[in-house]
Amino acid sequence: MVANLGFGALVIAFLIALYGIVAAVVGVLRKIPAWVDSARNAMLLTFPLLTLSALSLIYLLVEGHYEVEYVASVTSNSMPLYLKITALWGGQAGSLVFWTWLMSAFASAVTLRRWDRDREFLPWVIVVAMVTLAFFLGLVLFVENPFARIWQLPQGQAVQAMFQPSGSVLFMQPDGRGLNPLLRHPGMVIHPPLLYLGFVSFVMPYAFAIASLVTGRVDDRWIRLTRRWTLVAWLFLSLGLLLGGRWAYDVLGWGGYWGWDPVEIAAFMPWLTGTAFLHSVMIQEKQGMLKHWNMVLVILTYDLVIFGTFLTRSGVLSSVHAFAQSAIGPLFFGFIGLTFVISLALLLHRWNELKAETQMSSMLSREALFLLNNLLFMGILVVCFWGVIFPLISELVSGQKVTVGPPFYERATAPLFAGLLLLMGIAPLAAWGRSSIQTLGRAAWKPALGTPLAVGGLFLAGVRQPAALIGFGLVAFTATVTLYEFWRGALARHRRAGEGLPLALWRLASRNRRRYGGYIIHLGVILMAIGIIGIEVFQTETQGTIAQGEQIKLGSYTIGYDSLAVFDTKDGRNVARAVVSVYKNGRYVGELHPRRDYYYESQQPMTIPGVRSTWEDDFYVLLVDWQPVSTEGATFKVYHNPLVNWLWIGGLVFILGTLVAAWPEGEHDLAVVHVRRRGYSTVEA
C-alpha cells in the first residue's frame, strides 16, 4: 500500500512536471503571465509530492518490506537503523529518487524568491529545471522503479512488476541481501548526498544561463543572480570530493585517498570547470569581459555533471564505483545529446551579442592571470576527460582494451597543479587593469624571499626529491603572499580605525567576504598541497607475515604482533581483530587494532586499518588477508604517510573559507531620501 502511495506520488509529480514545461513555454511565447504563474505553482507542487515519495521509500526500507525488490537489494534484518535510512541512496533506483527530491527542493527554492526585476527569466528557468526533473522522474518511472515488487506467477517463476500480474501472489522474502559492506561507513553515508547536492545545485546557474541566452538579456544579470548558488553548489561538490577521499583512506585499505578511477574523475571534472567559473566570473563583474567564456564554463559544468552521471550509471565504462548496468544508458544518452546540442546552438546563436565592455591593458594584469588560471584548469580538464574517454575510443577503434591509470594522470597534471599554485601566489599581487613586470616584480620580491629560505632549509635537512623541493618552494611563496594580504588589510584598518589586529582581521573578512573568504580557501589549498606532497613523495610501505610476538620494521617505526581475536558480530559479520603495538625509535607509542571484517550475506571482506595520526604523519597498519589470519602468521601491510593530516586540515580550512565567502552580507537598510530640485542627496548605506 505504501509502495503504491510512493509510486503514485512519483507519477503525479512527473505529470505535473510535464505540464509545467508546457505551461511555461506557452505562457512565455504567447505572453500570458497567468500560465507562467501556473507553471511556477506546478514546480512548487513537485516538492511535497516527491517528499512523500521519498518518505514512503524510507518507510519501506526501515520496516523491511522485502517484497519490494529495491528494499531486498539494499537492506537486511541485521543492519542498524541509520544504515537502513541511508540505504535510500545505496542503489541505483533509490538514489535517482533522492536526486529528484533534491532537484525539486532547489527548483522550489529558486521559485520562491522575488522575481520582479527578472520576470523574463522565470519561465525559462522553470523550463530547464522541469525538463531535468522530468527526465530523472521518467528514468525512475520507466526504467528503475524502486517501488517494484516481486510476484510469484502460478508457474513458479518470480517476476518484478509494479502492479500485480494476474494470478500471482506477492513473493515475501524473510530477509534482504543487505547494503554493500563498503557502503556501511559513516563517511559513505554522507558522501553521495553531498555529491548529489553539488551536482543538482549546478543545474540552477545553468538554468539562468540558458534563460539569459534565450531571452537575449546577456548582460551579467544572470551571474549576479546565481552567484551564491554557484558558490554553494561548488561548496557541496568540494565537500563531497573531500569526504570521498577521506572515506577511501579510512576504509578501502590501500593507504591512499584518490585512485583516479573514472567515476572519481567524473565527479572531479565539473569541479574543475566550476572553480574556473568562480574565478573568471570576477573578471566579468569587474571589467565586463569574458561573457562568452563564462557562458561556456557554466554550460560545460552542467554538461559534465550530466555526462558524469551518465558514465557512472550506463555501464559504458566499468569501474569499481559504477552501478549495475540497465536500460538507463540509452535514455541518458538521449538526454545528453539533447542538452549538448541545444546549449551549443543557443550559445552560438547569441555569440555576437556577448560583447565585452572594456579592454584589457596588460598581459600581466589580474585579468590576464585569471585567464591563465582558467587555461590551467582547462588543461587539467582535458587530461582527465581524455584519460577517461580514451579506453573507450581504443576499444572501439582497435578492439584493444587499455587502462589509463594513475601514473598518466599524475604525471600530466602535476605541472599544471604546480602552475596553479604559483598563480595563486602571483595573482593577488597583480592589479586589475594594468600591471607590468616592474610593478609585479616590486610587489613579489619580498614574499619570494620565503622560497629560497624554505627550499634551502629543506635541502639542508636532507630532502633531495625535486618534486618536493619545487612543491614546498611554491607553497612557501604562495603562503607568504596570501598571509601578507591579510596582514596588509588588517594593518590598514588598524592604522585608519585604530582597531586591534584580531578585530581588524575579523572586520576585514566580514566586510569583504568574497575576497578574504577566497584567500582563506587558498590557505586551505596550500595546507592540502603540503599534505599531498608529503604523502605522494615521501610515503613508504612494507609488508610481512609474522607470528605472534614477532615484529616488522619500517623506517623509525616498529610494530609488534600482540594478539588476535576472531568473533562474530550482531550485524552479520565475522571480525578478525589484531592488536599491534607501535614503537617509534624504540619507544612505545601506542596500540593499533587493524581488522578484517567478513560479511556473511554478501560474502565480501573488508579491511579496516589501524591508524596512528599525528601532525607530522600517519602510521597506517592493515591486516591483509592474502593468507588466512591466525596467531601463527598474520600478514600486515604498513604505510608511513608523512604530513597527510594536513590534507584533511586543509580541507576543513577550505570549507571554512567557502562558508565565509558564501555567507550572506548583512542587509544594510536603504534610507529613502527626497530628491530636491537642485543637487542630489546621498543615499545612506
Binding site: 549576479r224 543572480l225 579592454q359 582547462m378 588543461g379 582497435s398 587502462t403 591509470g405 546621498t682
Partner: protein
C-alpha cells in the same frame, strides 16, 4: 671393519646433505619478500576486476597472480620481463598506462597539444583585447570617470541583488 665405517660415514654425509637441502626449501630465506612482489604488483592492474591494482586486489585470482610474480622473481626474472609476460598473457590492459605504440600515442600527445592550442588562443585573445581603440572608449562608459555618487549608488544597488 674400516670399509664398513667408511660406508657409514658416507651415508651420514649424504643424509646431512639431503636434510640440509630439505631445510633450505622449507625456510627459503632467499625467497622474494612481499615488498618485492608488491613493488611489481603495484604497477599492474587486475586483468579481471576493473581499475584495481594487483597489490590491493583481494580475489583468489589476484592472489594467484601475485604468487606468479613471486615465482618469477625467485627464478630471477627482471621487472621488465615479468611485466612483459603479463602483457603477453593477459593483454595490454594489465599495464597502468597504455604502452606507447600505434593508436596509444594519442593518449600522450593529445593533452599537451590541446593545452598548447589553448595557450595560443589565449595569447591571440589577449593581444586582440590589448589593441587600443579610440572609438571603443568614446562609445562605452567605463572609460570616463563616472560621477562619484552615481558610482556609489550603482555599487550599493548591485550589492542588494
Amino acid at each position: 671393519m674400516g670399509r664398513f665405517r667408511l660406508v657409514i660415514l658416507i651415508c651420514l654425509i649424504l643424509a646431512a646433505c639431503t636434510s640440509a637441502g630439505v631445510r633450505a626449501q622449507v625456510s627459503g630465506p632467499s625467497g622474494p619478500t612481499d615488498d618485492q612482489v608488491n613493488a611489481i604488483a603495484k604497477q599492474l592492474y587486475c586483468p579481471v576486476c576493473e581499475s584495481i591494482p594487483l597489490d590491493v586486489c583481494g580475489t583468489q585470482a589476484c592472489a594467484q597472480w601475485r604468487e606468479l610474480i613471486r615465482q618469477k622473481l625467485a627464478e630471477g626474472w627482471s621487472e621488465g620481463q615479468i611485466k612483459q609476460y603479463f602483457v603477453d598473457q593477459y593483454g595490454d590492459r594489465v599495464l597502468a598506462t597504455p604502452p606507447a605504440h600505434g593508436l596509444n600515442w594519442l593518449v600522450y600527445l593529445v593533452p599537451p597539444l590541446a593545452i598548447l592550442a589553448g595557450a595560443f588562443l589565449l595569447y591571440q585573445a589577449l593581444r586582440a583585447w590589448k589593441r587600443p581603440t579610440a572609438q571603443e572608449v568614446v562609445g562605452e562608459s567605463p572609460g570616463t570617470p563616472p560621477d562619484e555618487y552615481i558610482a556609489r549608488l550603482e555599487e550599493e544597488l548591485n550589492k542588494r541583488i
